[in-house]
Structure formats: structure tokens, C-alpha cells
């Protein structure tokens, strides 16, 4: 019976969570007549700050090690970014660097950016199939015109051999037409998206009508007819993966990428405050 009670006590004690402690926790940081502040108490106080970025930066560094990312590659990319900033700001660079805490701090943050970029590409590689299925990327040139006649005339001209850009210019479209990656999540009209997603080979669309509603400053709802002409230039994403990755890098949240790696390497968190701070943004931080 005694053994059973002792065993139960041990089980109970092992369930009690100890506090994450710094080494030499009782070292005195502040002392004086009737007051004291231990190193551990100061640590807890420091943890009242928002240190999400410190943890994220450390996670990136750890992941760089775990993913065997070449240190030279990281340094080269970071130094190249630093050079770009120097060139961009010229004589005021010193002020900019000082604003960020000095060149060392700036370089360190570019290293983290470099790691994040490399990890993002690896994440995209590892999840390529799912991402292609989810985003359905195509490359296309898209413009809209204000009348159906203009859109039809433009299509007719292209069919007769005029380039898309020239035909657009003939209809008064002043801007340069850029060939871009469009996906199922692009912020374009649903009607255009539907045409892009249904194309299984490069093609010129017919006129795509989209009605855009807007509310003016007086609260009146107005609608505008837009006539789109889309030149779908590439429907095989395997031939433009780099551009698709660039698109993803600007679309996908860093949190998604970190969450992926935290699952992959089975993160274990042992500090309550850090967990509470991080899990708000990074759901796999647990």
C-alpha cells in the first residue's frame, strides 16, 4: 500500500511543470535596502517584451543548419543585398544603417532573408504538386477596354498578325502590357479567371465581359462594364517554375513556410510565455 502511495505521489510530481530557468537564476541584478531583483525575475520581465522576431530569426538559423544550407550562399546573398542598399541610398547609407542599428544588424537581417528565401524555394519544391493544383498558374497578357467594339477590333487585329501590344496601343491602351503569372488566387475578375483556368493550351480569348460595381463617396452604387482581352501565352507551369516561385514568394505568408518546417522537424516548445507569444501567429509552434 505504501509503495502504491509513493508511486502515485511520484506520478503526480512528474506531471507538475517546472519553470524554464536561466543559469544562475538567483544572481542579483538589482539589490539594496529591502529590495532585490534576481536574474530569473529579470528574465521573466524581459519576456514581457514582444520577442517574436528573435525566435523567428533563431528558427530560421536552426532550419538553415537542419536543411544543410551552404553558409557561403547565405553570406553571398546577404552581402549582395547590402550592396544594393548601399547603392540605393548612396551618401545617406550611413544614416540608414545607423537607423537599423548598424551595418552588422542590417547584414544579419539580410542573412535571415536569404535563409527564408532558400527555405521558401525548398518548401515550394517539396510541395510542388499541391501548389500547382491549388494555384493553377498560367502566363498571360491581360488588358481591359471600355467598349466591346474596341475589344473586338483588337482581337481582329491580333488574328490578322498584329502583336498584342501593338493592337492594344491602337485601341488607345497607353501602358506597357506585361506578361505575368496569373493563378486561381490572383486578384482579377472572376470571368477572366474562369477563361484562364479553362485554357489547356496557349490561346487568345474572345471578348470577356465583366461588370464591376463600386460605391461612390455619397453611397450610391455604380456599375461599369469592362471588356477584357486575354492572351494566354503559357499553360505549362513546369516551363516557368522560377516565375511561379517568385509569385508564390510574394503571396505565401512566412508563417506558412515556418509552420511546414516546424512540423517537418518536430518542434518541441518548453517555455510557456514563448509558446503564448508565438502560437498566435505560428500555429505549429507548440
Amino acid at each position: 500500500m505504501k509503495k502504491l502511495i509513493v508511486l502515485l505521489c511520484l506520478i503526480l510530481l512528474s506531471g507538475c511543470a517546472a519553470k524554464t530557468s536561466v543559469s544562475d537564476p538567483s544572481a542579483s541584478i538589482i539589490s539594496g535596502d529591502g529590495v532585490s531583483l534576481s536574474k530569473q525575475a529579470f528574465f521573466e520581465n524581459l519576456k514581457n517584451n514582444d520577442y517574436t522576431q528573435i525566435i523567428v530569426n533563431n528558427l530560421f538559423k536552426d532550419l538553415a543548419t537542419l536543411e544543410n544550407i551552404d553558409e557561403n550562399t547565405i553570406n553571398e546573398q546577404a552581402e549582395a543585398s547590402l550592396e544594393e542598399v548601399k547603392e540605393q541610398y548612396g551618401s545617406s547609407y550611413d544614416k540608414v544603417a545607423s537607423y537599423y542599428g548598424g551595418e552588422d544588424v542590417l547584414l544579419e537581417s539580410f542573412k535571415i532573408d536569404a535563409i527564408a528565401g532558400i527555405l521558401a524555394d525548398s518548401y515550394f519544391d517539396a510541395n510542388q504538386e499541391e501548389l500547382l493544383e491549388e494555384y493553377k498558374p498560367v502566363k498571360a497578357k491581360i488588358i481591359y477596354l471600355d467598349t466591346r467594339e474596341k475589344a473586338e477590333a483588337m482581337i481582329e487585329e491580333i488574328k490578322n498578325g498584329t502583336s498584342y501590344e501593338m493592337a492594344a496601343a491602337h485601341q488607345g491602351y497607353g501602358s506597357e502590357v506585361e506578361e505575368k503569372v496569373y493563378t486561381d488566387k490572383s486578384d482579377i475578375s472572376l470571368e477572366v479567371k474562369s477563361v484562364l483556368q479553362s485554357a489547356d493550351e496557349p490561346m487568345l480569348s474572345s471578348v470577356i465581359l465583366s461588370v464591376v460595381s463600386a460605391t461612390d463617396s455619397e453611397g450610391n452604387t455604380t456599375s461599369e462594364d469592362r471588356y477584357y482581352v486575354a492572351d494566354i501565352t503559357n499553360v505549362d507551369p513546369t516551363t516557368f517554375m522560377d516565375e511561379f516561385y517568385d509569385y508564390l514568394a510574394s503571396e505565401i505568408d512566412t508563417a506558412d513556410i515556418l509552420n511546414y518546417y516546424m512540423v517537418k522537424y518536430d518542434i518541441e516548445v518548453y517555455d510557456q510565455r514563448t509558446y503564448e507569444l508565438m502560437s498566435k501567429t505560428y500555429e505549429e509552434f507548440k
Partner: protein, 335 residues
Amino acid sequence: MDIKEILKKFWFIILIVVVFVGFVVVYAIDSFKNRPIEMTAKEVDGQYLIYSIGDQNYTADELYDELKEGYGTTSIYREFDRLVCDAAIKTTSEMENVAANQSAYLLQNYSEEELNSQLQSVGFSGVDEIDEYYIYIQKSLELRTEYLKNHYDEYVAPFMEEKHPKIISHILIKVADVEEVKNEDGTTSYVAHPTKEESEKLTVVEEELKARPFADVAKEYSEDSSSENGGLLGYFDDDNSTYVEVFKKAAKKLNEGENSAVITSEYGYHIIRCDSENPEDLYGYTDFINNIFGDDVVLYNAPLLEKAKELNITINDETLNDSLMSQISDESEGE
């Protein structure tokens, strides 16, 4: 009795027991699902871990060092100030009441999440320390007020001479039709076109002021929220930016115990009173204390350092101490 008989005889009690047990089970499951996740500490090679990922460990010591580098000076300042204030000034029941009222107001008007975030940004753990925070604020003000009292000739007297601080009250009689006039010198003045009732009210107030205390008349006749407190507006000095120009001009001229002539602003007629220019009264106003310190970080922290020295309170971490002193003590002035 067999089971059938028991069920027949006690069916109501059994039903109640079943319903009760059902409630308990549902509640227990719900509580379990919503319980906060508790982290369990882990030690490797004598060092506690913050997290581990793959074979990489991030230790509490590493986090401490990084936090100290990033936030050390700010955090040690808060802790030092708080500890010195606590050691120097006794918590009174009045302080506790003020803190309790302020906390109650905030807890009623803001979410716990908002308050936690605000309190953490000033070094407190969250709403569990909200009362402590307001007690600390009062102590910090008292510490600095006492310092100024003890250094009156050095800091208070020159400020009084230069900025003419005073406590003012006013009576407002609203006038609906006030005309704005642009003067040649670029200033703006106002011309009132009162109704008969508005004119009569002004006459009554002027007559009453000859016979009764200003605060009583303000309480009865003034037409803004200050009337509840006898027209008291509070602290005013030459740098004031709260009131309209014509009001400030009149208030600046007043000496203790004087009432202004009737002045007209865009709101109507005002009669302003200077209640006091006595520093003993002015010490009760946070703006008075803060305006004397101004932007002078060294002066603002002089009371803290003086009291710390008196109480032998020291920062024993050399890096933190040097970093803080370079910002708040005389040493920083030479840099």
C-alpha cells in the same frame, strides 16, 4: 428487490442522477477541450530549453542574452524605477483606491487582450498587475514631486518666473450667434450677437459674482461640464495649447484671486478666474510636475538616482548599469 422493482420505485431519483452525471460529463469534456496548453520545462546538459527543433536546441540562456541585448536597457530602467519607488514610498490606501478605480474603469472599457498588450509594453505581466501599475505610476509621480519640493529654488522658482503656472476656473455663457473677425495683425477675434436671454444671463452672472464665491456661481450658471466642479479647469501656464487664443490671452494676465473681464470666444462669453498660483496647490497637478522636467531626461531621472543612492539600491549587472547610466545620468550629458 430486483432491478425492475428498484427502477419502478426510484425512477425519478435515477433520472435526476443520470441528467446530473450527463451535465458533469459534458462540462468536463468542454473544460478539457478549452484548457490552456501547459508547457513542460526541459533541461539538457544543465540548461533549460526554450524549444528544440530537429537536433537543434535554443536555450533559456541564449534567449536571455538576446533579450538583454535588445530590451535590456529599457527593461532594467523600468525595474529600477519601480523598485526604487516601492522602497522609497509607502503604498497608501488612497493610492490603492485610485488604482482600483482606474483599473475598474479600464477593465470595463477595454478587452483583456488590449490591456495585457499595453501593460506588457510597459514591463508589467498583464491585467493581473494592473493595480500594481497604477500604484507605481502614483509613486513615481510622488518621488519626482518630492524632489522638486526639495529643490524649489533650483527648478520650481525659475519655472514659476518664466511660465507663470496657475490653476484656473471659468464660467461659460453660451451664445449661439458669434461672429468671427479676422484682424489686420492676423489674429482672430469674436463678436457676440446675443439674444435677450443670453444678455440677461450674463448680467445676472456679473451681479452674482459681486456677492457670491466664483465656484458657487459657476456651479449654478456655467454651461459646460466644468460647472460640476465649480468651473474648475485646472492647470494652466504660458505654454498652454489646449484653449483658444483669446482665452489664453486673458488667462495669462490673471494673478491669484483675480477674475477676468468678460471675454468672447467662438463658444460665447467667458469669465476666467485664477484660483491659485501657490506651488503647494500646483504640486497636485501632473502637468505642473511634467512641465518642469520638460524633455530633460537627466533632470527627470535625478530624483530616481538620488533616492537609489540614499537607499543603497544598485544595478549589479555592469553592462546594464553602464548602458542605463549613459542615458539617464550626468554621464550622458558629456557625451
